[in-house]
Symmetry: none
DNA sequence: GGTATAGAGTGGTATAGTCCAATTTTGCGT
DNA sequence: ACGCAAAATTGGACTATACCACTCTATACC
């Protein structure tokens, strides 16, 4: 399986091995692959060599990992299909940067008129408001405020630490909510004083402002988000379809 | 410089150090940066830690290396500045504004490396370059440069007046080319001097920069566009699908 | 029955060293 | 001066080991 005397580097051979097993269905989507220590023992190589192979596959989007849990096969459609909308966390991992967050505010409160309008809610509906500074490699990249109807996902504010976890992942795994599509607007503007402070910006720094309403497959609005991305640190990628 | 007792991983600090030195011009473009062993000695870390930092920067495209020669700062010019967008004409009509254009440049010429890379073309391929100021109700809104393979739509530069006609409409009706989807990047930045002049802007005006590669249904790249939209006059709307 | 807590397992980070192949530099013999 | 071989340097690959923070689970305790 793995040839130590080959001219092909071991970590490349291990990458190929894992990739083939994913393609062959031996490692199904979302399943855990053997631990780095197990693979190192199996192939009689050092753990670092296995780790290098796995990290390159993470970089390529085939795998993702969590300390203490293991390494998992990603849903491969993300890269292969024409797929577009990713959470900040997933997008940063795909780019090879480490995402993290600083939670500025997290609470349940009645929806503002801006939110009721965007999500088509009756006024007074309780929503979860989550306001975070998003960081990539520990550098602040964006200020983001999310609003989700509290009833569809009760109690997640207290149960989860969103400085580490992905909101979309929690919605998916904890509440069974799958986001199907989103309407977004993009604009370029100057930073507000609040954004300047939160993101450590100079005045005149250009901001990529994004508002987003996400919907499930039943076309019910799920979440409303306003984000301010640092223009000098972030480019937004999207695949857009014509017509329909 | 490098704090061993910080909570920030050493290799991240080293990445930041190198990145900052590149930005500050200490490590100019195409220059050699210190060897891995020198940096390891300088920061009192193991060579592997420096190597990890450098390899991630190589991954990100900031550096490139050759065994026996060293590690060099890549030239970033290729990925810098200018962009484009959807059918401006159709979008403006949808918004109830009157679209028009001022053609700054229209010619057939060999593709630049930026274009060949984006459209996956052999170098030297002839392309149509179309550079226009886009206006809404006679107010300049964007500066847009399009590149299309000349062979797929011969002679349209001479036959059509793109100050009035929509490029996409001509492609569709004259050449039978239907655009299926596009990959776009969005960014927020300050206007370049050229854009300031073309769009009558003050310095510091935020620009919504968009690059786009459009594809037909057969997934062949058709067109590469770079646009600069006035941040104060334009918001971009999109519907994005979430995969999986 | 519920709740701490201890332990095992996980990936992340880091060290110190080895060998290798590609490349540049150096120095020696002519 | 010149050519060429040896030496030094460089990044690439790899091993063995260590400690950390996190996650999960099983056990002990109340």
């Amino acid at each position: 399986m793995i040839a130590h005397d080959s001219h092909v580097p071991l970590y490349i051979q291990i990458k190929d091995y894992i990739r083939l097993n994913i393609q062959a269905g031996v490692f199904p989507e979302n399943s855990r692959i053997p631990s780095e220590r197990q693979l190192a023992e199996q192939f009689q190589v050092s753990r670092l060599t296995v780790s290098k192979a796995i990290n390159e596959l993470i970089q390529e989007g085939l795998l993702h990992s969590h300390v203490g849990k293991g390494t998992f096969v990603s849903s491969t459609k993300i890269e292969q299909e024409l797929r577009t909308l990713t959470s900040f966390t997933e997008e940063m991992i795909r780019r090879g940067q480490r995402p993290s967050s600083r939670v500025l505010y997290a609470a349940v409160e009645p929806a503002s008129s801006e939110v009721t309008k965007a999500l088509l809610l009756p006024s007074g509906t309780k929503i979860i408001v989550l306001r975070r500074v998003r960081l990539a490699d520990n550098q602040p990249v964006a200020l983001e405020t999310s609003a989700i109807v509290a009833a569809i996902c009760p109690g997640i504010v207290d149960k989860h630490d969103f400085s580490q976890e992905s909101l979309y992942q929690v919605l998916r795994e904890e509440c069974g909510i799958r986001i199907a599509y989103a309407r977004q607007t993009f604009e370029s503007r100057q930073a507000t004083p609040e954004e300047q402070e939160a993101l450590h910006l100079d005045p005149h720094t250009p901001i990529l402002g994004i508002t987003r309403v996400t919907y499930n497959a039943q076309e019910q609005p799920i979440e409303y988000v306003r984000s301010a991305y640092r223009g000098d640190r972030y480019k937004f990628n999207a695949i857009l379809r014509y017509g329909e």
